[in-house]
């Protein structure tokens, strides 16, 4: 699975294994760009040319419009380089990640069940992860529109170019791939609409559907309208669904290989894209018309300013 933070949070490897008895490997990078997605896919197919794996590629509209970079290091296909080995063993990033992994494992009881008896892990974990909890809290309660402002007025041609390259590469190798458009909350969709980006979003879907069929869960449905609070089991903020939502998605697309629950997602291709656009536009217009208080609360300009501050502080 290749995607960004949305994919990382939404799809859980253990849920996937328990449901399908298959291993899900996630190559997810925060704010991944189209070019980076292509490079990761190409690298995987270079190292594993005879792979029989199925791929899931998750596409983030906001990233595809805004992010135009490739921060990946140079790829050496043969073996792990000395530089990679050195940074894996001695870098601060690796040491920090190691500590976080240990704490996460302790918290989720995969390791050291004995530690439960000592009763220190909970306090230690809470103390060391309080910063993360704070971010989560703010994202849920104060900034449901976190990271959804799009500055570019038109689609980034480079993104479509690399998306095209990915589909061609997968076709060449005869590899089964599920493309998914990142799942977002209705508040995000409403923000696209109110800020005049809806046509751009629909245009992106149209161009995407010309290249390859894709699964679309990003429209107003029965699961993504509820307010984003701690009791919402489907969304942790307006851009990130929880793994409960991810489980429903995987059950539909990977296990059944088709969408039978069209109330929350649909397979879009070049034949049904126009109907889908009409349906989705009608639904968002209806939502905005019926929920003026939500629109007024979350679409204020101050939210954008605050969002900028939070982004600056934490990302």
């Amino acid at each position: 699975m290749i995607g960004d933070s949305n994919t990382d949070i939404c799809f859980d490897t253990n849920d996937f294994y328990n449901a399908t008895q298959k291993t899900l490997i996630k190559y997810t990078l925060n704010g991944i760009s189209a070019q980076e997605q292509y490079e990761v896919l190409k690298a995987y197919l270079t190292v594993h040319p005879d792979t029989k794996s199925k791929f899931i590629i998750s596409i983030n509209f906001s990233s595809y419009v805004d992010n135009d970079y490739n921060y990946l290091p140079k790829f050496y296909p043969d073996k792990i380089t000395l530089q990679e080995l050195f940074s894996l063993l001695f870098s601060i990033t690796a040491a920090k990640a190691s500590l976080e992994t240990i704490l996460w494992n302790m918290e989720n009881k995969y390791l050291f069940s004995l530690v439960d008896k000592i009763r220190i892990n909970k306090y230690l974990t809470n103390f060391l992860t309080c910063k993360k909890l704070k971010i989560k809290y703010e994202a849920r309660e104060i900034f449901p529109n976190l990271r959804i402002k799009i500055y570019t007025p038109e689609l980034n041609p480079k993104s479509i170019y690399y998306l095209n390259k990915m589909t061609k590469l997968l076709k060449e190798k005869n590899i089964k791939c599920y493309f998914i458009l990142n799942i977002v909350h209705t508040y995000t969709l409403a923000n696209f609409y109110k800020s005049g980006k809806w046509n751009l979003y629909m245009d992106f879907k149209k161009q995407f559907s010309q290249l390859t069929p894709f699964y679309d869960f990003s429209f107003v449905n029965e699961y993504n309208q509820a307010p984003i609070t701690f009791s919402n089991i489907y969304f942790q903020d307006s851009m990130h669904p929880t793994n409960t939502y991810g489980k429903m998605v995987l059950e539909n697309i990977v296990e059944k290989d088709y969408m039978d629950n069209t109330s929350f997602g649909m397979l879009i291709d070049k034949n049904n894209i126009d109907n889908a656009i009409n349906m989705q536009t009608k639904r968002i217009e209806k939502f905005i018309k019926n929920n003026p208080e939500i629109i007024n609360k979350y679409m204020k300009n101050e939210i954008d300013d605050l969002t900028k501050k939070v982004q600056y502080k934490y990302y």
Binding site: N14, P73, I80, L89, T101
Partner: protein
Amino acid sequence: MFKTKNFIFLISCIILTVAIAFLNYFTDPFGVFTPAAGSYTYSDREYIYAHIKSHKNIPPPPTTS
């Protein structure tokens, strides 16, 4: 006295470095040394290629109850 202090400092640095290397090797947060064996792996731009290259034989993840 000065030399002893330097010597202790040097030995401490070496021990700390070796300890960090052990920690990173056995915890393996990027899933490079023991691919997918951990229940939680990070993805990081710096290590993603090492991660891909190490995934030759992937054991199943631990099941959860």
